[in-house]
């Protein structure tokens, strides 16, 4: 090949790099290794982690130990999906395109909204994108955020806001829910998470009614697996709904890759960020799928694009479509009901322990609840770790005594009883 090019050596391929910037030494990295050696290294690293099949997981706070059925990654893991690029050549990409169309359809069904897209990065960045979408009216710039919104979502919003030119304003909860956003003609949107960061069910209709009365857009952060039993965002008045979609067939993976879900009303579709798949026909009239409304996107519209997103989380959306197909309508109801019932049972058992109470005793919750403990929550969590439990996530509340406990359909009555017993012993 060098001969064909009339070159003497591989070094000649790099002759245009000025000598002054060439690296005149090897990279300070180890020598390459064989596959068995890298496998040994990786498995040794993996063994130094205690995963959620070894520990009994009651940790949530935005990432949940739901069951991932075998069929999901048997299909989503097929190399035709895994190793393909963004479907720029639709004739060679009908598999990804149709699956994304089906994903969009199922997200619309779940949320009761008109349109979705081919995914965003995760729940937090989806919220930041939703705010950009909602801030489309000149003069309406302010962003009101319920104190019930996940703190990591809020931090992400603050970071994105530094570029977009807003500072999210928090309105406090009352006994773990509700609150009063101070609306005015300069407010772009009101953000409510339901169930909120404490797992509590919010009076969403009232909050969104107030937002709309004030002329602001309503953004709901939702839990996809709650929507078999909880009313969909569209029915609650949300103009835009976003979620962390990890629970839809994606593994916990220490925080990613996850799935940013977004859905909105049809009249906002031309401002929606990210890729959108549409159904059309080919020259012979056969049904086919393409990326559509690309004039919103960075590769066409450049600095006027609705977002900079290019690479997204398509494979996670494919997994979500397969997972929702596996669940079906009754499966979605059953998972939601199981999470809710088991969480309620766990809350009852745990609050039987002397000194342990619900932080918001009068507030209804879905699959997660905040426990007030008689000792620092991190200490209790660590003590329970020694007994084989990931007992929850200590919340950054000033008192340091609050533990957020999540109960998914994977947890059994036996495991919940065992946690209650162990916590009782730890606190005795």
């Amino acid at each position: 090949m060098l001969d064909a090019l009339g070159l003497d050596s591989l070094d000649d391929l790099f002759s245009q790099i000025p000598p002054t910037v060439r690296l005149d030494r090897p990279l300070e990295l180890p020598e390459g290794v064989s596959e068995p050696e890298i496998w040994a290294d990786l498995t040794a690293l993996a063994r130094r982690n205690r995963h959620v099949d070894e520990l009994i997981c009651f940790a949530g706070a935005g990432a949940y130990d739901h069951y991932v059925p075998a069929v999901v990654w048997a299909l989503a893991g097929r190399s035709e999906f895994v190793t393909s690029y963004t479907p720029y050549q639709p004739e060679l990409s009908q598999g990804v395109l149709q699956t994304l169309f089906e994903y969009q359809s199922m997200i619309c069904e779940l949320t009761g909204l008109d349109v979705s897209n081919a995914s965003l990065y995760d729940g937090s960045t989806a919220l930041a994108e939703a705010v950009n979408l909602a801030r489309g009216t000149p003069g309406r710039d302010r962003v009101l955020v319920s104190a019930g919104v996940d703190p990591r979502h809020l931090e992400t919003l603050r970071t994105y806001g530094a570029g977009a030119g807003y500072e999210p304003e928090i309105f406090p909860l009352e006994e773990g829910r509700g609150g009063h956003p101070e609306l005015g003609p300069d407010v772009a949107c009101v953000i409510v998470q339901h169930p909120n960061r404490y797992g509590v069910l919010e009076p969403v209709r009232d909050l969104f009614g107030a937002a709309h009365d004030g002329g602001a857009a309503a953004i709901q952060v939702f839990d996809p697996l709650s929507l078999g039993v909880l009313a969909p965002p569209g029915e609650l008045g949300a103009d835009i709904a976003v979620a962390e979609g990890q629970s839809l067939g994606n593994h916990l993976s220490f925080g990613g890759p996850y799935l940013g879900v977004i859905a909105t009303r049809m009249d906002l579709v031309r401002r929606l960020p990210g890729r959108i798949v549409g159904r059309t026909v080919d020259v012979e009239g056969r049904t086919g799928y393409v990326l559509t409304l690309q004039a919103r996107e960075q590769h066409i519209r450049r600095e006027k694009a609705t977002s900079n997103i290019c690479t997204n989380q398509t494979l996670m959306a494919i997994a979500a479509a397969i997972y929702l197909g596996w669940l079906g309508p009754q499966g979605l109801v059953d998972v939601g009901r199981a999470c809710h019932a088991k969480a309620a049972y766990a809350a009852e058992r745990l609050t039987e322990i002397p000194g342990v109470s619900l932080r918001f005793p009068d507030a209804p919750f879905f699959k997660e609840f905040a426990l007030r403990l008689p000792r620092p929550a991190a200490e209790v969590r660590d003590a329970l770790l020694e007994r084989g439990f990931l007992a929850g996530v200590p919340l950054p509340e000033p008192e340091g005594d609050t533990l957020l406990v999540a109960v998914t359909e994977r947890r059994t009555r036996g495991e919940i009883d065992a946690l209650a017993e162990a916590m009782g012993e730890v606190l005795a």
Partner: protein, 503 residues
């Protein structure tokens, strides 16, 4: 349809598209398979008392998801997968996308429960292995790019760009003025100007010169103290190395600006030169390009951002820190000058595990060889195609990718770059990128990557040259292509006009 001839050297004949229609005619969506009462899922019976959610919160009827058996699900998505082309299917020379082969060891590593089954908020003592992996990967990426520290949080290149620009903004803000504009070359990827806008800046466009390089003299006139920085890839979007890179970075630095390296083209220079040594202050890396993490039909990727020591305080939280005394690792949250958080948790960890496997499997010599072979393959393929598809900027030798043009062919025959791409599909290949970069007429942007053999380059070139010959003799064959794919050319105008975005 003309039967393609095998070129000299015994390359196999191609007799149609690499993916074909699958299953019965008119097979529809998963919803079309739905029948009342069918179900794939099974769950254990409820072992605690059932509870109703309060009536005002309850859903009245379940969402109309498809009702199918597991068998239906498997048949349906297997059929769809078979209608999709991936790197595992064959050659994938998409320029600017670095579609190299994705080693299976990386997949196996990411699937280990010790990585895939970790909750992101587990106590640090239960995740020492993954924290060490991230720490080692960060060190390796800094060495490869010549930078001091890196965040692994951004889940994609574009998010990395925004991260870098917000760091730039914070740097200038701490000095009293965030400044107003960020310079980008006219050949830049669309994410650059879009990210600039999201970071609250205006894009300032820098023209390319006749050689396809940044016009340094024009840049000198454009850069002033209102410019926060410059974003650049090197080699640039045309596959050409910016030979005046030191002058370019000096011009920006002299005006108090920062220089951002878009790592889209890092695959060309591993072990040969480093952005840090060229004067760049901020670098993003696309692991799904350079470090062979698969692209998943559009994602996930990962877009780590590495910076100089001076910019390290602004990196997003958390960073992985190592306690020298105990050798243990922790997530460092308390970084008061940080720009904040770019992702809900720690980034696309499963992708980063794959990147780690790739980097340490190859090691220092292996990574250098990656770039050697990537550049050799691109130069060789450009050479094979040069008569029919001349390089857009012939003065500079291309590096890991090249931009050719079908403009002369179009002038002679009316056949466009798009028609060539579609015909190449019928000849058994995924085509190159077309119509990018925007500054080149009838652009064909080709990036073969280092993982392809000479035989596969020869075969692709034969298909391209055959298409060029057919353009002269039978242009309709190209206008009508592809004819052997699951669907033929699709009506995109109709898709945008009659929006059908769900079933």
């Amino acid at each position: 349809m003309t039967e393609p001839r095998a070129p000299e050297g015994g390359v196999p004949e191609h007799v149609g598209a690499p993916v074909r229609r699958q299953g019965p005619p008119g097979a529809g969506t998963l919803m079309d398979l739905s029948r009342p009462g069918r179900r794939a899922s099974s769950l254990p019976p409820l072992d605690v008392p059932d509870r109703e959610v309060p009536a005002e919160h309850a859903r009245r009827r379940p969402p109309a998801l498809p009702e199918v058996a597991e068998r239906d699900l498997v048949k349906h998505y297997t059929r769809l997968a078979q209608m999709n082309y991936g790197v595992d299917t064959g050659f994938y020379p998409l320029g600017s996308c670095t579609m190299k082969y994705n080693p299976k060891i990386s997949e196996a590593a990411a699937a280990l429960p010790g990585f895939s089954r970790l909750h992101p908020l587990q106590p640090e003592e239960t995740v020492q292995g993954v924290l060490e992996l991230l720490w080692r990967l960060e060190r390796a990426l800094c060495e490869i790019t010549g930078m001091a520290r890196a965040t692994l949080q951004p889940p994609a290149g574009a998010c990395g760009e925004l991260t870098g620009l917000l760091i730039m903004r914070r740097h200038h803000t701490e000095r009293g003025n965030p400044r107003r504009r960020v310079a980008i070359p006219d050949s830049a990827h669309g994410t650059n100007p879009a990210s600039v806008r999201m970071a609250g800046y205006e894009a300032l466009h820098v023209p390319s010169d006749a050689r396809g390089l940044v016009d340094a003299s024009a840049l000198e006139k454009l850069i002033d103290e209102d410019v926060a920085g410059l974003m650049l890839t090197n080699p640039n979007t045309l596959g050409l190395f910016e030979e005046e890179i030191e002058r370019i970075t000096r011009i920006v630095h002299d005006a108090g600006g920062l220089v951002y390296y878009d790592g889209a083209n890092l695959n060309a220079i591993l072990g040969r030169c480093r952005p840090g040594d060229m004067g760049f202050d901020i670098v993003h890396i696309n692991t799904h390009k350079t470090f062979a993490t698969p692209h998943g039909g559009g994602g996930p990727g990962a877009g780590p951002v590495a910076v100089t020591e001076a910019l390290e305080p602004y990196l997003p939280v958390p960073l992985v820190a190592r306690d020298e005394a105990t050798g243990t690792f922790r997530l460092e949250m308390d970084r008061p000058r940080s720009i904040g958080r770019m992702h809900g948790f720690h980034g696309n960890i499963g992708v980063l595990v794959r990147a780690y496997a790739y980097v340490f499997l190859h090691g220092r010599d292996g990574l250098r060889e990656v770039s050697e072979r990537a550049v050799l393959n691109a130069r060789y393929l450009a050479h094979l195609l040069r008569e029919a598809f001349p390089p857009a900027f012939p003065d500079g030798p291309p590096m890991h990718e090249f931009v050719a043009t079908a403009a002369p062919l179009k002038q002679r025959t009316g056949v466009r770059a798009l028609d060539i791409a579609k015909r190449v599909i019928d000849l058994g290949f995924h085509p190159s990128t077309v119509y990018f970069p925007l500054i080149v007429e009838e652009a064909l942007m080709v990036e073969p990557t280092e993982t392809e053999t000479k035989e596969s380059l020869d075969a692709f070139a034969a298909a391209m040259l055959q298409a060029a010959r057919e353009a002269e003799t039978d242009p309709d064959l190209l206008h009508e292509a592809p004819v052997t794919t699951p669907v033929r050319r699709l009506d995109e105008a109709r898709a945008a006009r009659h929006l059908e975005l769900r079933w």
